[in-house]
Amino acid sequence: MKKILMATTAVALLATGAQAEDTKIGILLGFTGPLESLANDMAAGAELAIAEVNESGMFLDGATVSSERGDTGCIDAGLAVASAERLITSDRVSGIVGGMCSGETTASLQNVAIPNGIVMISPSATSPALSTVEDNGLFFRTSPSDARQGQVMADILNDRGITEVAVTYTNNDYGKGLADSFESAFKESGGTVTINTSHEDGKADYSAEVGALASAGGEVLIVAGYVDQGGAGIVNGALDAGAFDTFMFPDGMVSDTLEEKFAESADGSFGQNPSAAGEGPDNYKKMGEEAGFEPTNAFSPESYDAAALMLLAMQAAGSNDPAAYKEKVMEVANAPGEKILPGELGKALQIIKDGGDVDYVGASAVELIGPGESAGSYREIEMKDGKMVTIGYR
């Protein structure tokens, strides 16, 4: 019996030795917690990219890729760190797609990924603080920083000739970060912010906030909140009191619910959310629907792109060693090279193998800038005749 066991072990060892190395990717997202409704479609996106690479059989001389999920709880830094620890030390992953929310991502990056030298590509952490974090070149993200959204908002207002606005934000990292980055961008371009104040979510009475905002005045009220939380309460209050007629809605507000609630009453209001147009998103939508998940859900395309970028970088480096492929992430993501859309990962792997260059565009129009974060493509919307219409991309 012992001999047989030895023999099989030996054979197994030989077998794996003969084959190319197997690569493992960790998928570290908030499968529980406040954004749990998004996490499954994000993970499905990342796994779709992995499946596509496996199918092509072109990855690192025929190596296979597998994935392992880990939970961060979105707001639970302790859980995130423990999951990252497990993925790296016991599952031996070569890279992590994640984390999901900004605070938790910072925690697992600094406590686990950097000490272990593992690359993290986050699809959805948007805090401006992550742009300046000391990351040894190990951290990337396929979503834009909220600092970028602040700039886009300032541009939109300038194009519309609006110079005076009031701002209210939801009292958390997202709201505060976005409101502050917007204020500095808008002031720099010559605009005036009459008031920049927070509101708490989950309250039903916002008359005090609306009173202060109305008193400060402004042509437009910017509501950097959540549409199913305090944001809607503020807009309702402001409309009822006749304090503001026109609003600007950042990404936390732009959704079907917004159209349903305010398309008519806040006619002429406008806003923006991260979203790309064109062939990439269309391809991805088709692929996702075939695979049986909801590919249009927020940050699902970014997750596909995060996994795809990681694998292409490995191919370019010819190795799944994070120290080697971290240098290649920016290279495969940006020009020059052949443009790569979702569904063309096999082709990309082939090009890289033949010594060519690729420019990964993917499902969310990836273009990495600065410290390795997406430049971000934003969809500009406006309320017209009781409907929310897309008026352009920037």
Partner: protein
Amino acid sequence: MDLLNAFIALSNYVLIPGIAYGSQLALGALGVTLVYGILRFSNFAHGDTMAMGTMATILVTWLFQSMGLSLGFLPTALLALPFGIGFAILLLLGTDRVVYKFYREQKAKPVILVIVSLGVTFIYNGITRFIIGADDQNFLDGERFIMSARDFKALTGLKEGLAFKTTQGITIVTAIIVVALLFWFLNKTRAGKSMRAYSDNEDLALLSGINPERVVMITWIIVAALATIAGTLYGLDKSFKPFTYFQLLLPIFAAAIVGGLGSPVGAIAGGFVIAFSEVTITYAWKKVLGYVMPEGLEPDGLVQLMSTDYKFAVSFVILLIVLLIKPTGLFKGKSV
């Protein structure tokens, strides 16, 4: 100088919302204060009693809406309100029979009853979410405004608009009627007098032949009606979401304690004190002062005493001051 515009701006953003919110808090605080006066414990389940009663009202409202019943420019919910109150009465009497009665017979200490009511809170909480869900529910119909800001501007030609929502009007009128009825009941009827006697001195009341179980039953019935009315008005004026009703418990208790627990007049005064302190202390006076101050002296800044972030802190600071200086509250309730 433009006193008229200044007054309109002040009414629009401070007076009207403050009065409406104050009425809602006062009705809630009346319920809390009655339970405290008669049953002698702080009923933490009050916020969720409001949620349960409102939920029943909403369900009946939807039924009426689907049947095509309506009250014209008034919200259909007013028609459904009696059914909601009926449900809340059954609920509270049932809870009393199953839960509170046991502890009353044990002569349990008030603090035990408080914890028991916290348990009841969580059960109500769960049932509400189970039946209607945790999301926002909209059940308002009928005319939205008595006077909208835009109409007011067109009508008067003033620079400032004055919005007066139907729900605010209904809230204020209903609150006045309910409070008048309550005081008439407490002061003029036999049952009301026996309640006050029981509240003032339990032993003496029992000796003079007042049936305690009857007093308790009447109290729960009144509390159920008050809670459902307060909850429905609040839901109509703002929106119905179970979680905000749970949170409403804090300002309601603050109102009841500031006014003096056990004192109905105090509960009403406390409701308005809390509502106005939340709205006025964090109000930015720039606009109003801009109209009042002479030319050239208008303020550049916001003239805001405190950022709106602190509005909840404000009501609790007032609560602390009142408890330090007058532990029995403004209107001599029982000390906590």
